[in-house]
């Protein structure tokens, strides 16, 4: 309990809110790593998921690979990639992408497959091409599930993005590793609270987006 109060005091200290290692800059870096990781993962996972979900091809293979990827320990990936790539953002980013892909892939496949087959057939009967069916029927209907995948990936990456600081980067992980190394636990706890707060904000924003993207007349999942 005392360390919790000390952490709040640490957060309240104006000295920690300015300068290059101040809270605003570290939070912005942390957010940047998270968004970048999820974005790159989405560039890979969403097209693959759309293809797999729509055609049914590769769907079970993709899901099996995604399941296997969940089993990879991120700390191991970051240290391994760092020894291969050197310090900087490359190694942690690669690890975050691998971390984010399973949720995104599963979410996208579920989104495409959530459309009622009768609806899809009706669209086909109206003469829509397969691309049109995907773009005008399956994606809009499944959008909340797709955003759900983004939400899952984002929360996972935001909590793990502290590992960027393990190999020479910034972000809120700086407070955690400095606190750990210097036995300054209030600082470490303060860093964790900031990460949790950032996760909460991102989670709620995406939840809101999920609600907003639910097609009118369809009760969102």
């Amino acid at each position: 309990m005392t360390s919790f109060l000390e952490a709040l005091a640490w957060l309240g200290d104006p000295a920690h809110w300015s300068g290059p290692s101040g809270i605003p800059i570290r939070t912005a870096e942390h957010l940047g790593y998270t968004v970048l990781g999820v974005l790159v993962a989405a560039l890979i996972a969403v097209p693959l998921g759309l293809y797999a979900g729509h055609t049914g091809r590769l769907a079970s293979l993709s899901l099996a690979l995604a399941g296997a990827a969940r089993a990879l320990p991120t700390l191991g990936l970051v240290t391994l990639f760092a020894l291969l790539l050197g310090i900087g953002l490359g190694a942690p980013l690669l690890a975050f992408v691998i971390l984010a892909i399973p949720s995104l892939l599963a979410g996208t496949i579920a989104a495409v497959q959530s459309a009622d087959p009768a609806t899809v057939d009706a669209a086909r009967a109206q003469g829509m091409t397969e691309t049109q069916i995907l773009a005008r029927v399956e994606i809009p209907l499944g959008m909340p599930l797709l955003i759900g995948g983004v939400r899952g990936a984002t929360v996972q990456v935001v909590a793990t993005a502290m590992l960027a600081a393990y190999v020479g980067n910034g972000g809120l992980g700086r407070y955690i590793f400095l606190g750990l190394g210097a036995r300054d636990y209030p600082q470490m706890l303060a860093g964790s609270l900031l990460i949790i707060a950032l996760a909460l904000v991102l989670d709620l924003s995406l939840l809101l987006l999920q609600r907003l993207t639910a097609p009118r007349g369809v009760r969102a999942a």
Binding site: A71, P73, G76, T79
Partner: protein, 216 residues
């Protein structure tokens, strides 16, 4: 590769220690999630708040939680209990919503007819509700098991023996094979436990073998 062959005993020790840390939290989280999910389902508002807060619990970075728990629960820094408690919390965060979905997937009509047939509440739960919720529960446990086995490695940063020690030592000495062995073995452990859970599910729920599992 030579490092791996020369250090098979070290690797075996860490693998065992890894399992000892990972498995109890999975089982405890599973056991605790059943009553918690039942409780949550009985009250609508509670269900909503449980699903929201459990997502948030998962956002707590694991390393600080491992370090700070001793101060909160009075254990020593090197106690494996810290990691066990933290991993149980993460397990609950995933398992309670899954169990809540699982119980909701059981049709009320089926439960009603079981009551009409004279099942006592406890018997109805054990013989009707739990088996019907089984497939969704199993899916939840599989996710918890895989994620827990992967999370145990973080304790390596604190010197708690697990396959995560191979990351820290390999990183310090620049031995790629050591880190790679840790990554591969962690993933392999997770996938083996996952496969065992699937087999266990088939043995306990033979009816799921034929038809597709209906998920919530």
């Amino acid at each position: 590769m030579r490092w791996v062959l020369d250090n098979l005993d070290v690797i075996a020790g860490y693998t065992g220690a890894h399992l000892v840390q990972a498995l109890p939290p999975v089982l405890i989280a599973f056991a605790l999630s059943l009553p918690l999910a039942k409780l949550a389902n009985a009250r609508g508002w509670l269900r909503t708040s449980v699903t929201t807060t459990s997502g948030l619990l998962y956002a707590i970075p694991s390393l600080p939680l491992f370090v700070l728990l001793p101060g909160l629960i009075g254990t020593s820094v090197r106690s494996p209990l810290n990691i066990a408690v933290a991993l149980t919390l993460y397990g609950l965060a995933l398992m309670v919503p899954a169990a809540s979905d699982a119980f909701r997937s059981v049709s009320r009509d089926v439960l009603g007819s079981a009551t009409a047939q004279g099942f006592a509440p406890a018997a109805r739960f054990l013989q009707v509700e739990l088996p019907l919720a089984g497939p969704v529960l199993l899916a939840g446990v599989r996710v918890v098991a895989v994620s827990t086995i992967s999370l145990v490695t973080v304790g390596g940063v604190l010197g708690v023996p697990s396959l995560g020690m191979l990351f820290v030592d390999g990183f310090r000495r620049g031995i790629l094979a050591e880190i790679a062995a840790g990554v591969v073995l962690t993933a392999a452990l997770a996938l083996i436990i996952d496969a065992l859970l699937v087999l266990l599910g088939r043995a306990l729920m033979p009816w799921t073998r034929q038809q597709g599992v209906r998920s919530a």
